[in-house]
């Protein structure tokens, strides 16, 4: 690993590393134009249009003024460049503000005010309370005698609770004068992106005698953008100072490095549009080749006779290419230049609608929903799989201590609340040793910081909600954690003060799944190891003779109720044992390489022979509306997978509670498990077989798999599992790691499903980024997930609205907008093609340049943009009939066949416009400018009516845009008609005076729209789609029929694929079917005895537990 050495307070070594200037800018003043153009031209569409625009500069082949392509092209480029420039300018401003911020820095032993950008690596920086940290620092001194301070890291991870940062041992007790002249060296790895780890060492130079290497961890550092906070703490200390030492600076800071521009996601709709664009491009090539050939043949046979054309006898070598190229230019409008801009615009508005939505505003946390990715709203409407986290996503992540089991005695079983259990209260009051020990562990074994407010009440700041619940519960049991000053800790038990000295904290990691503290009881000087953790992490550490059976039972029982369990244990340490271990621990802490792993290994040495003392059960309540949301979304045809790190039983309970799976006999759970590969495979195949057979039955099947089996499956049996994934509508994956979550998302994506991943914590980030759509819940676990996500919402229940309302509308609107864009471009292009048969296939453009440009950019682009307000069904109707989402999922509104419809319509309309125009304006009226304006008017009229007939609802804005555009067309053309040098001088006025003009245009509309209207009416009434029926039902305002009958009908028909197999009961017998019931939790003891005893081939819970013990030990 690369290392760097930072010399403290040494000006000579400063220039080794970059200064603290931060720059988030993408461009500079000089490279903006080339760089931006380069980025824009990486898109195929833009390259295509540039090619066309360049070809148009060749006057021999251009049918129109080059301005007709250059104009829109430049406008489009200017729009996106301006947006980029504006964003970049804002970034520049915020950089500048940060760079020029004044900070106190020690130079030559004196404190000076300098700008933040001039901080160099090795400088000593002074900060005051509420200052923002200007760069990554190592703490070397604080105003507090214990050498601690508090920071808020919300800008980094969104967690608003305060975190403690401590001065490294070597620097403790240094006076502020000494800190001015301190010298030393810090050895640390090169900057990386990980904001949760920092492994370094510090050695001070004389006169600071401590020659030991002093280990540095993340708790000795302060990262850029954090804030120094501690108002409550600062009572008595007027100015709270803290000295920091710069380690990384500028763009090398961890925050700077973890910023990254994510890969743009492509929606299914985008992919379809790209495909259609490709098809149109091919069609265009064919047209160009055919017309090019025809043109060359016509030229050689006919045009030579047309003496007035004066074709030269032998043309240049490229003569054969001229006509095809002309047609290429003429047909280039087939691919609408405006589609990209229009789509970007409406997508931006969809995203804004999500941000603005009041019904998705979370009043509890006062968070609005936010669409960070503005480009993928349509995908929301096409989601097929939702992969959801459990804790904090489905549940509130608001932990409440409910029950506990201390040495086999259950508390809180009757009342459902242990804190109200008189037995427990009495036991605490009577100082029953076990109970006191239990509560002590609850109080001491954590990283909670107590904060005393001015009024004297104590509140707790905790990173883990479980710890918060435990400490609060202990306080209610009269064991109050009063203060934690550095290593000393005070507890008030029933009015008497107890002091402990914290010697070491063996931190929690997701691998270890437990944490411990080593404390010294100040009364009797005994050294104690207090541990808490997941059952499979603690129970194997029990001392040899202890009966762990009661605890296993307790864990089982609580898990059945959907409670989160923690096992508590302790042991007394001998002084010499501790001293020896402490030495090893210190060494491990100061390693630079694999520190985490080494620490875990050392912790393992101490954590054994524990006396297990009890189990706590914490309730994590379901969020409001979760069952309804899942029910609705499942009706909408969305499949749910639950991926959780929690225990299987807890997961199943929660799944039942949220309608995730149905209870017997409607639903059935299939378990995949096993320790070895063979067992897993057998189990997997059995489940798959059952699934295949039962898929014809109207039954909710769900499979349950745990992380261990999943690991084997993902490695070895991917294909089988993929088939299972396709068959199964529901799955519960428990004990899965973040990377497994991401792998599952990838697996579903590889089956071409649209996936949505929703989660709230850092462990969901990978899955959220992997999925087509990532939704983060801005919850209690911080904003990590919400920041990584495309959408962040406050509550799980908003997902329903996000998908059914926003997703669906976005899909419908984009489907219309994109196809319409092609339609209008094809329309005008077909007219040009027809005209070429009347102009000797020479590639003359019927329309003049101004008309062509304005047609694409104004006349046909603006009215259709109001589609962002179009609603085919009211939100209420959609919510009541979520099945309607199937239309979006199946892509029924935008697919090759609907596109063919639009293609046909444009062909028909082009024929109508062209034929009527050339017949009405024949003979003496056949003047080029007039005829072209009549045809253009026909197109504009048709456009207006097409938009009108396809729009479902009209607000004032739509009326304005459609009819205003109409007026604008006449206004603009009249305006151009007043310019004498323009080709169409006076044309519009002449036309408007001719009755035949109006008669012709009305005829075009009638012939063009009549069949469309008739067909639409016929389909609407006699071949109604579900959307139509619901529209009609909405109108009739009758009670919106009950869904019950409909739903059952849907389900039975859905599954009515094959006749039921008679042999299936045989298989079903051999499958574990817990008699799950959501409404009344059955007596757990009977359940447990039935489960494993009856179906012994299946892994009983007990053996599963033991298997995980052995695994755990093996791992460690």
């Amino acid at each position: 690993m690369m290392k760097r050495f930072v010399y403290i307070n040494d000006d000579s070594s400063q220039d080794l590393y970059c200064d603290n200037r931060i720059s988030n800018r993408k461009y500079t003043l000089w490279n903006f134009l080339p760089k931006n153009l380069w980025e824009q031209f990486r898109r195929f569409m833009n390259q295509y249009f540039l090619l066309i625009a360049c070809l148009q500069l060749w006057s021999l082949i251009t049918p129109v003024n080059p301005a007709s392509t250059w104009g829109p092209l430049i406008i489009i480029f200017a729009v996106s460049a301006t947006k980029e420039a504006w964003d970049d300018y804002n970034r520049y401003l915020s950089d500048k503000q940060a760079n020029e911020k004044e900070v106190w820095v020690v130079k030559d032993g004196i404190r000076k005010h300098i700008q933040a950008q001039d901080i160099h690596v090795g400088n000593i920086v002074w900060l005051r309370e509420n200052d923002e940290v200007p760069c990554d620092l190592v703490l070397i001194g604080t105003s507090e005698p214990q050498g601690i301070c508090y920071v808020e890291t919300s800008a980094l991870d969104g967690e608003t609770d305060l975190k403690t940062r401590v001065v490294p041992l070597a620097c403790i007790g240094l006076a502020s004068e000494q800190l001015h002249i301190i010298k030393g060296v810090i050895e640390c790895p090169n900057p990386d992106k990980d904001i949760t780890r920092f492994d370094g060492n510090m050695r001070l130079f004389p006169p600071f005698i401590d020659n030991d290497l002093c280990p540095l961890t993340i708790s000795n550092t302060l990262l850029q953008s954090c804030y120094l906070r501690n108002t409550e703490w600062a009572c008595g200390v007027a100015k709270w100072l803290s000295i920091w030492l710069t380690i990384f600076s500028g763009n090398e800071t961890k925050l700077g490095m973890s910023r990254g521009v994510p890969e743009p996601k492509l929606t299914a709709v985008d992919a379809m549009i790209d495909k259609l664009t490709g098809a149109i491009f091919l069609f265009q090539v064919v047209v160009v080749i055919v017309l090019g050939f025809a043109g060359n043949i016509w030229k050689d046979t006919e045009a030579r006779k047309q003496w007035y054309v004066k074709y030269p006898e032998d043309g240049p070598w490229y003569e054969l290419l001229v006509i095809p190229l002309r047609f290429e230019l003429l047909c280039s409008i087939m691919i609408p230049i405006s589609i990209k801009v229009s789509l970007d615009l409406v997508k931006g508005i969809y995203a804004k609608f999500i941000d603005w939505d009041e019904e998705m505003y979370d009043h509890d946390t006062r968070t609005p929903s936010h669409a960070a990715n503005t480009a993928i709203s349509e995908d929301l409407g096409q989601v097929e799989y939702i992969l959801t986290d459990k804790t904090g996503t489905l549940t509130e992540n608001k932990m409440i201590f409910r029950r506990c089991c201390i040495n086999g005695v259950f508390y809180g079983n009757e009342s459902g609340d242990a804190l109200k259990d008189v037995q427990l209260l009495n036991a605490v009051a009577n100082n029953v040793a076990d109970v006191i020990r239990f509560v002590t562990i609850m109080t001491v074994c954590n990283t909670v910081i107590p904060i005393r407010s001015k009024s004297g009440t104590i509140s707790y700041k905790a990173q883990s909600q479980d710890e918060d619940a435990l400490v609060n519960a202990a306080a209610r049991l009269h064991m109050v954690l009063i203060s934690k000053n550095g290593s000393s800790l005070e507890i008030n038990l029933n009015g008497s003060l107890i002091q402990y000295e914290i010697l070491d904290i063996l931190e929690f990691t997701s691998d270890r799944k437990r944490m411990s503290v080593v404390v010294k009881d100040c009364q009797d000087g005994k050294i104690l190891l207090l541990s808490k953790g997941a059952d499979e992490a603690i129970l194997p550490c029990a001392y040899a003779g202890q009966q762990i059976r009661p605890f296993v039972d307790a864990v089982e029982q609580y898990a059945q109720l959907g409670l989160r369990t923690l096992c508590l244990g302790w042991r007394e340490l001998k002084d010499d044992e501790y001293n020896e271990w402490s030495h090893a621990f210190k060494q491990a802490r100061s390693t630079l390489v694999d520190r985490e792993w080494k620490l875990a290994e050392v912790c393992q040495i101490l954590e054994h022979d524990l006396e297990i003392i009890g189990v706590t059960a914490i309730e994590d309540r379901l969020q409001d509306g979760v069952p309804e949301t899942i029910e609705t979304l499942r009706q909408a045809g969305i499949n749910f997978w639950m991926l959780t790190g929690d225990k299987q039983n807890t997961a199943i309970q929660i799944a039942l509670l949220c309608n995730f799976i149905s209870s017997e006999p409607k639903g059935q759970l299939l378990f995949i498990n096993g320790k070895t590969e063979d067992e897993v495979l057998r189990s997997l195949e059995r489940v798959l077989l059952t699934m295949r057979i039962t898929s014809s039955e109207p039954k909710d099947l769900a499979f349950v798999v745990d992380g261990w089996a999943l690991e084997i499956i993902l490695k070895q049996y991917r294909a089988v599992f993929t088939e299972l994934a396709i068959l199964s509508r529901t799955a519960i994956c428990c004990r899965v790691t973040p990377s497994q979550k991401a792998q599952l998302v990838e697996l579903l994506k590889s089956c071409d499903y649209r996936t949505l991943a929703i989660g709230d914590g850092g462990n969901d980030v990978r899955m959220i980024q992997q999925a087509d759509i990532g939704v983060g819940i801005s919850g209690r676990e911080g904003l990590q997930a919400a920041r990584a996500a495309d959408y962040s919402i406050g509550k799980f229940r908003f997902l329903k609205r996000l998908i059914l309302v926003h997703g669906r509308y976005s899909y419908n609107r984009t489907a219309f907008l994109s196809q319409y864009s092609f339609y209008k471009s094809l329309l005008i292009c077909f007219i040009q093609i027809f005209f070429s048969f009347f102009s000797g296939v020479s590639g003359t453009s019927l329309f003049n340049s101004i008309s062509l440009m304005a047609y694409n950019v104004f006349y046909t682009s603006i009215p259709v943009l109001t589609v962002v307000l179009d609603k085919d069904l009211s939100e209420k109707t959609v919510m009541q009939n979520p099945q309607i989402l199937l239309y979006c999922q199946a892509g029924r509104l935008l697919n090759p066949s609907t596109f063919a419809g639009w293609f046909g319509r444009s062909l028909y309309h082009a024929l109508v416009v062209f034929l009527i125009t050339v017949h009405a304006y024949a003979d003496e009226k056949s003047e080029m400018e007039e005829l072209s304006m009549v045809a253009l008017s026909g197109c504009i009229w048709l456009q207006a009516f097409v938009v009108t007939i396809e729009m479902n609802s009209f607000t004032i804005l739509q009326h304005l845009a459609i009819w205003g555009n109409f007026a604008a067309f006449y206004f603009i053309n009249s305006l151009v008609s007043t310019i004498p040098s323009a080709g169409m001088y006076t044309i519009m006025f002449r036309l408007c005076r001719q009755p035949s003009y109006w008669i012709t245009v009305v005829l075009i509309v009638a012939v063009g729209m009549g069949p469309v209207l008739a067909l639409k009416y016929f389909r609407y009434t006699y071949r109604s789609s579900a959307i139509n029926i619901l529209q009609q039902a909405e109108r009739s305002r009758g009670p919106i029929f009950s869904m019950g009958g409909l739903e059952s009908q849907l389900k039975s028909l859905e599954k009515d694929v094959a006749s039921l197999s008679t042999s299936q009961s045989k298989f079903r017998n051999s499958v574990y079917e817990p008699l799950l019931s959501a409404s009344d939790p059955p007596p757990t003891s009977t359940r447990r005895s039935i489960g494993p005893a009856t179906f012994d081939f299946l892994q009983p819970a007990q053996s599963r537990l033991s298997s995980s013990y052995s695994r755990n030990c093996k791992d460690n």
């Binding site: 988030n24 919300s154 047309q306 019927l846 035949s996 639409k1016 009434t1021 409909l1046 009908q1049």
Partner: protein, 348 residues
Amino acid sequence: MNPRGDSTSGSDGAAEPRRKSKKPKYSRFTQQELPACKPLLTPAIVVTAFAFIGIIFIPIGLLSLSASGQVVEIVYQYDTDCIPEQLQNDKVAFIQSSTTNKTCTRTLTVPKNMEGPVHIYYELDNFYQNHRRYVKSRSDKQLRSKASETETTNCAPEATTSDGSVIVPCGLIAWSLFNDTYSFAVNSKIIEVNKKNIAWQSDKEHKFGSDVYPKNFQMGGLIGGAKLNASIPLSEQEDLIVWMRTAALPRFRKLYGRIETDLAANEQVTVTIQNNYNTYSFEGKKNLVLSTTSWIGGKNDFLGTAYLTIGSLCLFLAMGFIILYLLKPRTLGDPSYLSWNRNPDGHY
């Protein structure tokens, strides 16, 4: 405040949502709740619409037809007719020869009373004034003002003479100016042909300059069409102005002049045609057309017929929908029609 900013566009909103209330401001627009009307295609509306179209269209169609019917039109195709019998086999040679007598006199009978002014058109067929090479070969600037005399970039191959001096008016269109002439007599009395104001007023005033005089026109080796009187400014050369309003279709009529007097029915009009213009090399037809006008323009039955057809079709459709509605009544919005769940489109 978070002055370090966020480089990614999304995160600035998510940075500190808990601190400030970011409750979206309520407005009907942001909540997508603007009052909207949702027109439905109910049978009543659709039938009414079609019936309405039918009822409006049929009278308009009848009016148009009658207007077109009132127009009296005499069309005489003279391209083959005006070539002597013995030269029929080599029409091109006839027309290109400078020695042959190209005068051709014919008598036309007026079918109905024609009220003056009677428009005289020449009609060319299979003549591609809209050919790309042709339609571009002009210089509007040169035509407009004397100052831009040298602006002949688009005029090739008729931009300059062989010695390099500028042709005014340049380009193929002007070069191929139609040069047949007609004169008319009724009962040996010559009828005046008014050739004033046959071009658009706007063209004469703004498109063709009054200070621009023809120069080096038709001086090249190959003579295209008519020559121009070099002493008359372009704004007065109305035949040229008419010709330069290019036609969009290969068959077109252009105004030659007007007969201001009425022509009575069965009158014999003697036409003397100078058949100069070469349409023979591309087998183009030449017609002489005498026509009156109405509010709808010249004789054109298309609009009237189309209106009648569409109008009756719409009425027929309206009737059909009524019958269909009576035969197969459907309650709109009846949930029992929600049949989509029976055909889930193979989605599962």
